[in-house]
């Protein structure tokens, strides 16, 4: 089945946020800064890999002539966006009506 995990959603959204600058260390920093939770480097690489093999991410190695070591940059194809939406929608549906307990938003 195509249900994706919570951390996977976080990674996917981080890639979206970073737009053209989404390479592993940046994704990691983005998640740590925004959520306050600490993330190991390995977790990020592995998850990016797995998402790519599921077709939820696409990557390309940056051209070397831009200076510095080569980096692998990621993008989220339409299929990935749909996956995020589906997961978020399920959460929304369940959350609906629970504002008194869980707080607004």
């Amino acid at each position: 089945m195509s249900a994706i995990g919570e951390f996977e959603v976080l990674i996917l959204m981080a890639v979206l946020r970073l737009d053209r600058g989404a390479y592993a260390p940046a994704v990691r920093a983005e998640i740590e800064q925004r959520t306050g939770r600490s993330v190991s480097r390995g977790a990020v690489y592995i998850t990016l890999d797995r998402l790519e093999s599921k077709g939820l991410l696409l990557s390309t190695m940056a051209e070397a002539d831009e200076g510095g070591r080569q980096r692998r940059y990621y993008q989220v194809p339409a299929k990935g966006v749909r996956a995020i939406k589906r997961t978020l929608a399920a959460l929304e549906q369940m959350r609906d009506g629970l504002e008194p307990i869980l707080g607004k938003a």
Copy 2:
């Protein structure tokens, strides 16, 4: 670490919604109806169990004198509510600003 998974959050929220009527089959039905995704019976029981051993859920066997077979009813203690909030908050933080891509709400 105390990060909980996506399905666990769904289960926890279903228990909250059902208030006093949260026993496994009802939790399952609630999730299937609200999210449209199909859930196996075993997944629900196992997940309820694991959440209880982490202290994120509490359960009691219903008195038999109410007729019918005994059922195990669940409730979400404060610790469980906090866990849901934390996970949802992380998602919110990452989602913030992505409305143009992911849609509102």
